[in-house]
Symmetry: C2
Subunit: 451 residues, 2 copies
């Protein structure tokens, strides 16, 4: 029986970052990472195996971070955790003793009980190399592709597969618009327009009732009776936390399904931490449990856990997720952080919004200038920024992180309005109309006139 | 004699933004903007008139912001300010009465007293359309171009002119490296390498002693005796605040040369404000007067002034300039905010730095992935971020603004280390190695081991 100071179960970003952070904080601690897959994939890169990366192999995470930091790696399936003996057991019977255990067991794709869901030709999005290779081959050989679920993963699949050319792609969403959880309608519609431009059929307000076919899927049948021809179906309607091991360890599981954790990602047993998709997430604003599964949240959690495994070294609350993320459809990048206007209102916030539209270079005559649109959502009386949405060129991938920091820090509109922002003709909007500042200004103007 | 609630003198970004902000805050106020030039240019776009924009005409600011906000415009040279009568007088004798006056009179290029500086063929960088058209024509027709001054404006001129092709360009700098005020050596050297790749001759540690030629400039002579052939010389060694009108108005002028202003950009006379290049700048960290002239600073000042002209509506200190800016040389973008490591040490700060190098997409196999390098400078004991430098692809133009907000807010390294940052394969570095976070982590690790 080998003993380790830290045992991490799970080889995704949350597991790796917790292990690396623990080792960087104290190089004398022995750290073991156990994962099930021989090869770890980069989760966010999976949609791009079809065209942009052109293969599953180019989306491999690699074990350099583990090797470089002296972290032991075992490829095995952990089948049990004994929290009194402080050991974990693998399917082959190996036992490892831990001082601190980190559960980074991730999530599994949700498979709804629709008639025919188990037919050949229907795929979930599993972070499994062989499974994805098979999916890729099927997509290459097929014409009619149906994607169920219009969240960001669904639209990224649709986007990348459409670029292979010659496919008939349909994306099906229950809500009135694609991306409707993260974006207000006006941004969601922009994403839909981009997909349509690329020839993707966008079907919203639609529910799948069954899959039909003889021996393999051939048609997707909607509640309104419409039938959509399908050689391959990709189901991306969400994921649920993997909590089996946590349950075996006797840890508290939250009602929403994740492993209960405190502000430092400690579970109900302080020698066991949980990070990433398997851990319960709370909303930054409402403290409600939310099913957010994003790399931005998972890696921030992993760093908080990694630095605080043995004692609370960095007093840093995990304030809850601001659900910050970005995506791209065709040439249009989209990004969001915090509450949408719609959700803020549903949650009972009194809000005021400001919108700015412009171009992301200056003057507008710069050769690669692209439109940019920023919407900021403020608490009306306290003036604090609670949400932001952006569409535009590639630079908005970092601009949203500026919005995110402002949200995390509770910065009021008047400080955003007088932000010192660096600008350059070839890199950003003009200083006179920097869209974050103008959106804040437009929101402030409303408060003044409406209050 | 026409009367206005607000008279702004100066049509650059600082003047326009102050006027627009004043009007947006109170649409009932009458606002007049007086400027000398018939057509306003976008200052940051001037280096790009040679190749990227291909003409001076494409760099025009336009008067839409004035028209759209109901701001009157007079094109005239103001020759006097009477602060008791509260009037300004133009060269044609027109008199305008003001309740509040805003001086946004800008800066003029420094012309050092070098022998031969007044020869034909030697140009300063004036924000004057006809002058720049002449310069552009001269550059088009010439082979040997010498640029004096290796600050960001000098390197942008060198970069854009080199892209015209067929030119022999030399850039001359007194300091050991180009961009040495804003960047530590390792970043400055990157910029030099890029320029050299484009065929530009980079001459540092060099002082110009005289210009020679018969009837027009033909050679630039250095202190070491070297002679550089020159058909056109462009001098970009800095600018000095235009304070003549402020002096006529009896306002305090700072020893460093700018118009003295308080935290709200009020001059020694509270009915007169000064914004942008003509106003004294203070350093964010040391409160020292610094000769920073950037659009980021000028527009932030203009917004603070514009909103507070009649009463202090927004209690927002102008905390001093963090001198945030970005630039581009060839394919390499460079950006900086706050103190460099070198300057921080000279100013007596005890610092710790963290560096991260990676790529700006993920996985690294993404087709347009480019190297990115981030250096963060922290106060060693207080842990607060005091400076940042970045080189990389276009996205760093916004990434530096995230660094800037963190500096303005005095955010400590441990909060940057656990930042929730949105990431996407096509837009940013990977969440596992987000460079801002890794740089903060590397700095923190040093504090832990060295303290």
């Amino acid at each position: 029986m080998k003993e380790y100071d830290v045992v991490v179960i799970g080889g995704g970003p949350a597991g790796v970052i917790t292990a690396v952070t623990a080792k960087k904080c104290d190089g004398n601690k022995s750290v073991l990472l156990i994962r099930e897959m021989k090869t770890s994939l980069i989760p966010c890169g999976i949609p791009y195996i079809f065209n942009t990366l052109d293969s599953v192999e180019k989306d491999i995470m690699g074990d350099k971070p583990l090797q470089a930091n002296g972290i032991d790696l075992v490829v095995a399936r952990v089948v049990d955790v004994d929290s009194s003996a402080k050991t974990v057991k693998t399917s082959s019977g190996s036992i490892y003793k831990f001082d601190k255990l980190v559960l980074a067991t991730g999530s599994s794709p949700v498979k709804v009980p629709i008639e025919g869901i188990d037919m050949p030709g229907i795929y979930l999005i599993k972070k499994n190399m062989d499974y994805l290779k098979e999916l890729r081959e099927k997509v290459v050989a097929s014409k009619n592709i149906v994607i169920i679920g219009g969240g960001f993963i669904g639209i990224e699949f649709a986007d990348d597969i459409s670029k292979m050319g010659g496919k008939n792609i349909t994306i099906i969403e229950m809500l009135p618009h694609l991306l409707n959880v993260a974006f207000d309608d006006e941004f969601a519609i922009q994403a839909e327009e981009e997909l349509k431009k690329q020839g993707v059929n966008v079907v919203t307000n639609a529910r799948v009732t069954r899959f039909t076919g003889s021996g393999k899927v051939e048609k997707v049948v909607l509640a309104n009776g419409k039938e959509i021809p399908a050689d391959v179906v990709i189901v991306s309607i969400g994921a649920k936390p993997n909590t089996e091991l946590a349950e075996k360890a006797g840890l508290n599981i939250s009602k929403a399904g994740g492993i209960w954790v405190d502000e430092y990602l400690r579970t109900s047993n302080h020698d066991i931490f949980a990070v990433g998709d398997c851990a319960e997430k709370r909303d930054f604003f409402t403290r409600k449990r939310v099913p957010v599964m994003l790399a931005s949240t998972a890696t921030a959690e992993a760093r908080i856990a990694g630095v605080n495994l043995f004692k609370i070294q960095v007093v840093r609350q995990n304030k809850g997720t601001i659900a910050i993320f970005s995506t791209k459809v065709g040439d249009l990048a989209l990004a969001a952080a915090g509450l949408t206007e719609k959700r803020a209102k549903e949650e009972g916030f009194e809000v005021v919004t400001g919108v700015a539209e412009g171009v992301d270079r200056h003057p507008g005559a710069m050769p690669d200038a692209k439109p940019i649109k920023v919407k900021l959502i403020f608490s009306k009386r306290s003036g604090v920024l609670i949400g932001g949405q952006i569409s535009g060129g590639n630079s908005i991938g970092e601009l949203i992180n500026l919005v995110g920091l402002a949200i995390e820090q509770g910065i009021p509109g008047c400080e955003i309005f007088t932000l010192q922002a660096g600008t350059h003709p070839k890199l950003t909007s003009a200083p006179t109309v920097y869209p974050l500042v103008i959106a804040a200004q437009n929101a402030m103007a409303k408060i003044q006139y409406l209050a």
